[in-house]
Structures are given as structure tokens and as C-alpha cells.
């Protein structure tokens, strides 16, 4: 629930009040008199105004009568801006609170009646949620009824008799800041989504999700579980930040354009599927403890452009892996275990550095272009190449290891070795 507007009543005398108060078309407005809200004139007359602020369909308005007078007046909800229309309550007989649907100012249609009386210092509240209207005096529910005359509009106030005075007017909504649960379906967000903030859990079930344009401040501070489906993010996603865990199950994930701050504070588990990263993927890092692991299951992985360092263990299962363009700093602090499959490295592969063990299972390995720094450093210097075809084209610089232990290149089994260039 959010408070959208308050008025303590205090202010210079004004007729009409003006500012946020807009008179309902065709009837008198409201005055500010001696730091209270009053009707349009010093005599009994229809008077009403709505509070001209952005107001959700589900809304409330309350006020406190400082002088009840004839009690013919009260808060309004869903006032229309182009006619003297809206829902109002009044306690004109001092015994019951009655609700009316005012349509184009011609007639008020009786809607509901229940026992209740305004008192000075009472908080008289009227609210609309869907087609359900409720009025309260302090915490006691008075009216509760269904009506569908108006689905939207602004909150306001109605007064008839000249002697009543109101202070402490408040308008609000029923928006909460908690769980957003998106069930299966298609979701399209276009344009600007400022302040789409889910402070708790966002659960996205299977479906199609398209985010285009700018999504500033889409901050989610807790787990995001993304189920199987297609997820497309295009354009700029500033601050799409996930500070905990991101679990991506099988599916297709496409990220194009700039994804600044796509940051994972802890584990990233990527199950079997297709992952395409194009353009700039700055900050695809994770800064967890040394034991953190990126596990990439079987599938096709296509990485183009630049990528930042992934400093921990990388297990690469059987599949097809294509690296094109720059792969700066694809550094492995620990181990790279590459299972059977086809591995193609094109272009420049600077700093593919395996500080420990590189185990390459049976398969085909094709490497073209520059391979500067394909090094294997001590300690634990071992390069195990099992039976298979190994084809090296282009410049082959510094296939070294700097250890001294147990032979030169470990075990190189019988096979065909062919070098060109």
C-alpha cells in the first residue's frame, strides 16, 4: 500500500483550492477555509473535486471531519475527469452511511446503506478494489458492496452542506512490493520500465519472455529461477543485476546488445542447452570463492566478441565448441577437462592459459590462426593426448611447458601428427 497524496488542511484560504484539486465538471469546487477543506460556498451546494495525480484503479481516500455539520459529504473514489461522475459516500442522515454512483452529475444512484455515523476525529475511509467497494469509520467496516459502474478514475471529495469541515485528507493505492509470480505465458515489456523492482522473489515459469528497450533499475536481490523456455533480451539492460544465484535450466538463451552488470555473485549453473552470447558481455564474471564452478553441460556454445576472465574450474562436456574473434583472458586457474567432441578455435586466442592439468579426450581438435600463450605452466605439468587426430594450422607458438618432472610432454601415444606452416 502506498500513500499518493496527503493534505493536512493547512494552507492559505483559497476558492477553489486549486493545485492538485480539480473541480468535477459542472458542479462546485472545494474551498480551503481556516486550514480546513469546505464546500464551494457559504451555503449548502453540491461541491466536489478529484485529486489530480496518477492513481491506480484500486485506490482509497480518507479524511477526518473536524466539523461534521450536516454530514452530507465524504470521500470519493474513481472520479471521472470528464464528467461529474464517481462513487461517493455520505452520512447525511447521521445514522447511516450511504453510497451513491454519481453519473454525469444528473442523478446519484443509490447503491448501498449501512449503519454508521461520522464523528469529529473519525477517519472516514472509502476504497475500491476491483468491483468491491468498502467504507470504514476508523477500523470498523460500514459498507461493503459490489458495483461495476466505474473501473478506474481518481480519488476525491464530495461535500454538500456549508458547515462541515474536513482535514487530513489522504489518497493511496494497494500496490505491494513483494512477490511477482509470472505463470506460463508470453510477456512483452517495451519502452521504459523504471523502478520495476522486485525486492523478493521473481519466479519465471516456462514461456516466452521478451524484454526490449530500457529496463532501468530491474533489480532482484534474491534467487531468480528461470525454467525451460526461450528468453530474449535485446537493447540495453542496465542494472539487470542478480546478486545471488542464477539457475538456468535447459532451453535457449539469447543475449544481444549490451548487458552491463549481468553479474552473478555466486554460482552459475547452466544446464544442457544452446547459449549464444553476441556483442559485448562485460562483467560476465563471478566473484565467489575459489571453489565456485562453471559447469557447462552438453550442447552447442558459440561465443563471439570479447569476454572477461573466468578464473575457476571449467568443465566442458562433450559437444561442439566454437570460439571466434577475440577470446581475451579466457583463463583457467585450475583445470580444464575437455571430453570427447569437436573443438574449433578461430582467430586470436590470447591467454588461453591452463595453469594445471589439461586433459583432452579422444576427438578431433582443429586450431587455426594465432595461438599465443597456449601454455601450460608448472607445477603439475602434464599434457595427455589420447589417440586421435590432431591438426594444427598456422602459427604454432610456444607449445611449452616449464616443468622438469617426468619427461617432456607427458604421454604422447602413437598416432598421426601433422604440422603445416
Amino acid at each position: 500500500m502506498s500513500v499518493l497524496f496527503t493534505d493536512s488542511g493547512t494552507g492559505s484560504d483559497a476558492n477553489p483550492i486549486g493545485g492538485s484539486y480539480v473541480t468535477l465538471t459542472g458542479i462546485g469546487g472545494l474551498r480551503r477555509v481556516s486550514n480546513k477543506i469546505a464546500n464551494a460556498a457559504g451555503s449548502d451546494t453540491d461541491s466536489a473535486a478529484y485529486i489530480n495525480i496518477t492513481t491506480p484503479n484500486d485506490q482509497y481516500c480518507f479524511g477526518t471531519p473536524s466539523t461534521v455539520g450536516g454530514r452530507d459529504g465524504g470521500p470519493m473514489v474513481r472520479c471521472q475527469t470528464n464528467a461529474a461522475s464517481g462513487m461517493l459516500i455520505t452520512d447525511y442522515n447521521g445514522t447511516d452511511v450511504e453510497a451513491y454512483a454519481l453519473v454525469a452529475g444528473s442523478f446519484g444512484s443509490f447503491v448501498d446503506r449501512d449503519t454508521g455515523t461520522y464523528q469529529t476525529t473519525s477517519v472516514v475511509r472509502f476504497q475500491a478494489v476491483g468491483t468491491t467497494y468498502t467504507s470504514k469509520i476508523d477500523s470498523t467496516t460500514i459498507n461493503s458492496f459490489t458495483d461495476a459502474t466505474f473501473s478506474s478514475g481518481k480519488a476525491g471529495f464530495f461535500m454538500y452542506d456549508a458547515t462541515q469541515r474536513w482535514g487530513t485528507i489522504e489518497v493511496g493505492d494497494f500496490v505491494t512490493g513483494y512477490t511477482v509470480a509470472l505463470a506460463q505465458g508470453s510477456y512483452t515489456l517495451t519502452g521504459q520500465a523504471v523502478g520495476f523492482k522486485a525486492a523478493r522473489v521473481v519466479s519465471l515459469t516456462s514461456g516466452t519472455y521478451s524484454l526490449t528497450g530500457q529496463a532501468t533499475g530491474m533489480a532482484m536481490n534474491h534467487p531468480i529461477a528461470i525454467a525451460q523456455g526461450s528468453y530474449i533480451e535485446t537493447g540495453q539492460a542496465v542494472g539487470l543485476r542478480i546478486d545471488r544465484r542464477l539457475s538456468l535450466s535447459a532451453g535457449s538463451y539469447t543475449n544481444t546488445g549490451q548487458a552491463v552488470g549481468l553479474k552473478h555473485g555466486s554460482n552459475v549453473s547452466m544446464a544442457q542447452g544452446s547459449y549464444a552470447l553476441m556483442g559485448l558481455a562485460v562483467g560476465l564474471t563471478y566473484s565467489g570463492a575459489a571453489a565456485d564452478v562453471i559447469t557447462i553441460g552438453m550442447g552447442s556454445y558459440n561465443q563471439t566478441g570479447s569476454d572477461a576472465a573466468a578464473d575457476y574450474a571449467m568443465n566442458v562436456a562433450s559437444g561442439s565448441y566454437a570460439l571466434t574473434g577475440n577470446a581475451v583472458g579466457l583463463a583457467y586457474g585450475r583445470k580444464v577437462a575437455m571430453a570427447q567432441g569437436a573443438y574449433a578455435l578461430n582467430g586470436q586466442a590470447l591467454g588461453i592459459r591452463v595453469a594445471r592439468t589439461m586433459s583432452m579426450g579422444s576427438g578431433s581438435y582443429a586450431k587455426t590462426g594465432n595461438d599465443v600463450g597456449l601454455t601450460q605452466h608448472a607445477p603439475a605439468p602434464r599434457l595427455n593426448l589420447v589417440s586421435g587426430m590432431y591438426h594444427l594450422d598456422g602459427m604454432q607458438v610456444t607449445l611449452l611447458y616449464s616443468g622438469m618432472q617426468g619427461g617432456i610432454f607427458g604421454n604422447i601415444p602413437f598416432g598421426w601428427w601433422y604440422k603445416q606452416g
Binding site: 455520505t90 454512483a101 442523478f107
Partner: protein, 191 residues
Amino acid sequence: MTVRVYLMPLVEGTRGNFTRRLPKYLSLVDGSKCTCLRYGEENVCLLVVNSTDAQHTALIANADVRAMPTDLDTVVTNGARTAIVNALEALNVPAHWVANGQTFRIVFRRLVGIFQLFQNLEGRKLRFLQASLDAQISTLPQAVRTGMQDAASALSLDMSSITGTTTLRAALATIGAQFDSRPVFACGISI
């Protein structure tokens, strides 16, 4: 005190300081909780009253007042169906959909559903019943057809089966049927 549902006319009357549209016999239930569910701008309403037995007797003494059974889970039977249909159709409320075996609760909710559509049109300053219930939707003024779609959207109604050749009568029955599981709040309770 018992919550009861009555069908009665709406009339212009003085209430407080204004001429207002009121249930015709509202004065007979002074002092009792009540909720008026209007048929939009048409001069018909369902008045739900937490009435005394004496108030109930006074209300039903009027020929233009019809009362539903106190127990709304009572099932509609042949004779009751005929009376209901005749009473509603005479007021230009489509009632062909009322069937034996339905409960009065369902009848009430469907009527309220149809009334809600009319209320929402009223709020848009539109009115249906310049036309016959047997008129096809396509013959209604464009503003009314647009208003009907907007009202249906606002009330989360499925209009996909309603086409230009659908009669107004059939369209309203389709709409009413979508309220079977939507409770109505009246007299402070859920019906």
C-alpha cells in the same frame, strides 16, 4: 433479520438533499442494511436487504416486487422458472437462459453479471436498450459496441464467442454465465 433478494423498479425520489435514483420501496426497509444492484441506466434493480419479516411482508405485498427464496441454493423448478422468466423479460432483462436445476444463487449471480455490464456502460455514459434484445450486435451503434468491448475488458470477460451476428440476448447470456463463480458482495456479505 434475514438477507433476501428482491427484484423491483428504480424510481426518481428524494433522498437527503437530492433527487436520486432509488429502489422504489427503499423506504419500506429503513434502518436495514441494503445494497442496490442496478440494471445500469434501466429502471430495474436487485435490492439485497437484511430485512425483518415485517419488512419482507410489506415488500412482497407490492405487485411489482419479486422475491427470491431466502435460501438461494434452492433449485429452480418448472413453475418457478416460468415466473422468473416472465418477470425478467417483461423488464427487458434477458432470461431465456434460466433453467430448471439451476440454483437461485446462480440465477442471482448471472443477473448481477449482466447488470454489471450495464453499470459499466452507464459509467461510460452509454446505454444498450434503445435496441431490442433480439437485435444483432452488429446493428448496435459503434460507440455502444466499443463501449461493450471496453466494459468487458474492464470486467475481465471473455467475448471471443460473440460476433456481429450474435443477438444482444445471446451475448448477455454468454456474459452472465461467466459470473457463476464470482461472488457478489452485498449487505456486507458474499453471496
